[in-house]
């Protein structure tokens, strides 16, 4: 009971005025995700990829075999082997290693036993290699792996049998064309998924590919999407689909993504956003629609109580109505706009009535900028 009193005290002390239960759950979820469950002796700063402890170079003349691969640096359970021109994963990585950095080498393949027995491994960085193959049993014993960076390789699919503990997967700039059903099965901890710059089409995302996954931040930019994928995780808070070939947004598109707070759709070919599309994402705070083919301000913005940032520059918008951004009843808006961009559109700034921006934080928040022409 004593603990409870303390808890209440601390809650009172903390700076925020109040917590709703959902905030606490989410917060705990994320903290838990970074928590190192059974390394009590571990004083490393878990918040960062790098331990901030003083590196130790134990010199023990009597060990028979060197325990750090030649040219790599091993300290505080971090093995740094970047920029060494390696063509394969070094064989003598210490078993208690927490992070392996192998970026910028020439590794073509990850073999079955390359990381075998590294049961404490927390982060694995394989960016910038020549990977075409990752053995399906690679991650069988790395059960604690939370961050896996595979960007800038030549992988054609997401590796199979990823560890269930994985929180972040980055596979930017590869050759992934297809996300198979069950790829992320059982991966309840996966929160960040970055798979931009892959030749992924809508048809490449199999139905059920993200079933049961609670991803919060997803980025599939610079791909070949022609519409907003409908089967992404329903837990998304951020979705970034910039630099695709999306041409329309249909009113059904966001139905699944009710929690969405940040939406990036810049640099697409969007000419039309169906009425009611945004009514499905009432919590959205930031929408980027710059560099598209919009002819008018998307409808329903005035009903988005929390919307603070909307980028609409470089479109074909010829007219802005007085109620396009702000509700008619001032109290309806719970967060003022901090940024609205409209420059590089055919509409003339003198044709927009000043009252249009009555729910904006300051004058500086609106960028009309037609004078740039």
């Amino acid at each position: 009971m004593k603990e409870y009193v303390l808890l209440v005290l601390l809650a009172v002390c903390s700076a925020k005025p109040f917590f709703s239960p959902s905030h606490i759950t989410l917060k705990n979820l994320m903290l838990k995700d970074m928590e190192d469950t059974d390394d009590e002796d571990d004083n490393d700063d878990d918040n960062s990829l790098f331990p901030t402890k003083e590196p130790v170079y134990p010199f023990s003349p009597f060990d028979l075999f060197p325990t750090c691969p030649f040219g790599c640096q091993c300290y505080s359970r971090v093995v740094h082997c970047s920029d060494l021109g390696l063509t394969s994963v070094p064989s003598n990585i210490p078993f208690d290693t927490r992070m392996v950095d192998l970026q910028n080498n020439k590794i073509k393949e990850i073999k079955e036993n390359d990381f075998k027995g590294l049961t404490s491994l927390y982060a694995l960085i394989l960016n910038n290699n020549k990977l075409t193959k990752i053995h399906p049993k690679t991650f069988q014993t790395t059960k604690k792996l939370r961050r896996l960076y595979l960007s800038h390789n030549q992988l054609t699919e997401i590796p199979l049998n990823l560890p269930k503990a994985l929180a972040e997967l980055r596979i930017h700039d590869n050759k992934v064309k297809k996300i198979q059903k069950d790829t992320f099965k059982g991966m309840n901890a996966l929160h960040v998924l970055e798979m931009s710059a892959n030749p992924l089409e809508n048809s490449g995302i199999e139905q059920g590919a993200f079933e049961g996954v609670t991803v919060f931040h997803m980025r599939i930019a610079e791909a070949k999407l022609t519409s907003i994928p409908k089967d992404l995780p329903s837990t998304l808070l951020e979705l970034h689909l910039d630099f695709n070939k999306i041409s329309t947004v249909e009113d059904e598109d966001f139905k699944r993504y009710k929690e969405l707070q940040r939406l990036g759709l810049g640099n697409n070919r969007i000419a039309d956003i169906e009425n009611g599309s945004f009514a499905n994402i009432p919590r959205v705070r930031e929408i980027h629609l710059e560099n598209n083919k919009l002819k008018k301000i998307p409808s329903g913005l005035q009903e988005l109580k929390y919307l603070q940032i909307i980028f609409l520059h470089s479109n074909s918008i010829a007219k802005v109505g007085i109620n396009d951004f702000c509700p008619t009843i001032p109290k309806m808006k719970k967060s003022l706009y901090s940024a609205i961009s409209l420059f590089n559109n055919p509409v003339k700034y003198w044709e927009i009535q000043p009252a249009t921006f009555r729910c904006v934080l300051s004058r500086m928040s609106v960028q009309l900028g037609n004078f740039r022409k």
């Binding site: 808890l7 601390l10 002390c13 903390s14 700076a15 925020k16 109040f18 606490i24 989410l26 917060k27 705990n28 994320m30 903290l31 970074m34 928590e35 918040n47 960062s48 990829l49 790098f50 901030t52 590196p55 170079y57 010199f59 003349p61 028979l64 075999f65 060197p66 030649f70 040219g71 640096q73 740094h80 970047s82 920029d83 970026q103 910028n104 960007s151 980055r170 700039d173 929160h191 960040v192 931009s196 710059a197 931040h217 808070l237 951020e238 970034h240 707070q261 940040r262 930031e286 001032p330 808006k333 719970k334 967060s335 003022l336 901090s338 009252a355 009555r358 729910c359 934080l361 300051s362």
Partner: protein, 363 residues
């Protein structure tokens, strides 16, 4: 139950602590804190009654999670503004940043690691790093830098500037960097004498230097005695002078592969009594370097791909009573003119296992 309570307690403490966490969800909390609550009266059309700005949240498209700000692979051409001031790690790799300006990192006084790998940086303003009073790791690899930046934070422990366009390293850039532990400057067009004499002198904690694949023709002078690893492979070094390794009492690993070394002066290796691993493969050596037999701790010696035509029976192991404290675990001699049948078996009497010797002339 207790565990849960403690956990919740910890979480609470960390919220209330000096570092305000800004995770993926903090903007939700800020909703309440920002003063723009539902009951707040909004004065439309009165900009002079401006409400306080909600302050920096996570830059769009980046991920901010537990003080780590991840902005890699976004095609950014400059450092994002409004970075959360409590950031400890900022990852900006794989973008198109061309220049680091004064003020780019202002307020980031808690930053421990800055990753700028794989950008197009050719210029770093001299005051750019001055706000970073806690920076320990600076990764600048794969950029277009012609020189190392000036005025790097004194707290720096690790500097990586692999694959840039650096032609010379001046002593002054390391002035006062007494916390430095790791320096990696490989794959740069360093000139033959591109490293100023004594450049690394005085760095009392310096433990690891790697300057591979450049054009330097000699081992840098004035290396600090704290050094445990020196990697200079793929350079144009032609000789190891007796004095060049002087005072390196802690050196455990020495990499000199792929140079043009034809001679290792007698007495050179006596300067490194704790050497465990020596890589001299792919050079022009005509004999086994002197002094190995006296080394108590040496375990790995790579000498393959040289011009060694004779191996004496006391080249590796001490004569008589074995005074070595560690057995050899790897000796390579293949691709040398010496024939394996000309080497007496007793030459390797202080080797851990037979398979530790690679003669392999039969290849």
């Amino acid at each position: 139950m207790k565990a849960i309570i403690i956990f919740v307690l910890l979480a609470q403490v960390s919220w209330a602590g000096p570092f305000q966490q800004r995770g993926l969800f903090d903007f939700m909390l800020e909703d309440e804190a920002s003063g723009i609550g539902p009951d707040e009266r909004v004065p439309p059309g009165f900009p002079e009654l401006e409400l306080p700005s909600p302050g920096p949240v996570c830059p769009f498209r980046c991920q901010c999670h537990l003080r780590v700000v991840q902005c890699s692979d976004l095609g950014l051409d400059k450092v994002p503004t409004d970075l959360p001031p409590d950031t400890t790690l900022l990852d900006l790799q794989n973008n198109k940043i061309t220049e680091i300006k004064d003020g780019d990192f202002k307020n980031l006084k808690n930053l421990h690691a800055l990753i700028l790998v794989n950008n197009k940086i050719s210029k770093i303003s001299s005051g750019a790093f001055s706000p970073l009073v806690k920076l320990e790791r600076l990764y600048l690899s794969k950029n277009h830098l012609k020189e190392l930046p000036e005025k790097m934070p004194k707290t720096l422990q690790e500097l990586r500037a692999h694959e840039n366009e650096i032609t010379k390293v001046r002593k002054s850039v390391f002035n006062g960097l007494n916390q430095m532990i790791v320096i990696e400057l490989g794959t740069n067009p360093l000139k033959s004498s591109g490293i100023e004499n004594g450049a690394f002198q005085g760095m009392k904690r310096l433990s690891y230097i790697r300057i591979a694949d450049t054009n330097i023709t000699s081992i840098p002078q004035g290396l600090p005695p704290s050094l445990t690893e020196l990697h200079l492979d793929g350079n144009k070094i032609s000789k190891v002078d007796a004095s060049s390794l002087k005072g390196l009492n802690n050196l455990a690993k020495l990499g000199l592969s792929f140079n043009s070394i034809s001679a290792v002066d007698n007495g050179s290796l006596a300067n490194t009594p704790h050497l465990r691993e020596l890589h001299l493969d792919n050079n022009k050596l005509i004999k086994v370097p002197g002094g190995l037999a006296e080394h108590k701790y040496i375990q790995v010696v790579y000498l393959h791909n040289n011009n060694i035509s004779a191996v004496g029976s006391n080249d590796f192991c001490p004569p008589g009573y074995n005074t070595k404290k560690a057995s050899y675990s790897g000796v390579s001699l293949f691709s040398n003119p010496v024939q394996y049948w000309e080497i007496q078996p007793s030459t390797f009497r202080c080797v851990y296992v037979r398979s530790a010797i690679q003669l392999g002339n039969y290849k």
